[in-house]
Symmetry: C2
Subunit: 153 residues, 2 copies
């Protein structure tokens, strides 16, 4: 498969990556390491919270999203990374046993003003559960190498 | 130590938590699991990228920040979680061997309109290196239990 360049990211393009099964064991292990709030560690504790039961740390969902998009397209692209996340919204709990997918949408692209070899692609990512419900939504802008440096946007 | 409630979060309050040493081993292990881009796995590969060497995944920095603020104050509070992140900016590479700290600032607080038992606290978090340089900045709004439900904001 030829490597994806900035020119290959067309606004409006939608793709879905995954699935990836998320187990109780990994939810609890991640929380124990990075986010040991009770609702991410224990069903009983979680049931007394807004999550209404055991749910993954929102950061865990972010990390699983990252892995899915890395395997889905990013590792086969000229990505130079991203300067941050413009928004992350945790909309519904990620429960043990869920098969998640990530739906990506290219929102906008533009050439870099300062770097002729670089283009920017603003993308949204939605983490979906088995039924297609959106558990998390995030927006970021990737820096990508161009196939034709310096050409017009 | 008495549990922190919403009323204890006063705009303008600054605190610093940590330090936490970040090792090469954990940077590479995290990247291998969640963000296997070459610049997070290998010095040589990283040196050819914008990171200019091996640097932690931005998501790893987020997760380390989460753990530091959990231990720093969140686990000893009435926090009910956060609906997302309003912004995350990865400003400089997190290198192996760095002792990171997190500087928190309470930006704003307000009572919840719909839940008299809840208040909101908008906070910024900056991940600092040994010299105080800001490696990452993030903003979020926590939902916190109130000591006096329903009282005016």
């Amino acid at each position: 498969m030829p490597k994806l360049h900035w020119e290959d990211f067309q606004p409006g393009t939608v793709a879905v990556y995954g699935p990836r099964l998320v187990t109780r064991e990994e939810i609890v292990a991640f929380a124990a390491e990075f986010d040991p709030q009770p609702m991410h560690l224990d069903e009983m504790a979680g049931s007394a919270t807004l999550l209404g039961g055991l749910g993954a740390s929102g950061w865990h969902t972010c990390c699983l999203m990252m892995r899915i998009i890395a395997d889905g397209f990013l590792l086969n692209s000229t990505s130079m990374g991203a300067p941050g996340m413009e928004e992350v919204r945790w909309l519904a709990p990620l429960r043990p046993g869920t098969n998640i997918r990530v739906r990506s949408t290219v929102l906008d692209t533009r050439a870099s003003k300062s770097r002729p070899e670089m283009g920017l692609a603003k993308m949204s990512f939605e983490v979906l559960d088995d039924k297609g419900a959106v558990l998390m939504a995030a927006t970021t802008t990737f820096m990508l190498g161009r196939r034709q440096p310096g050409a017009g946007a």
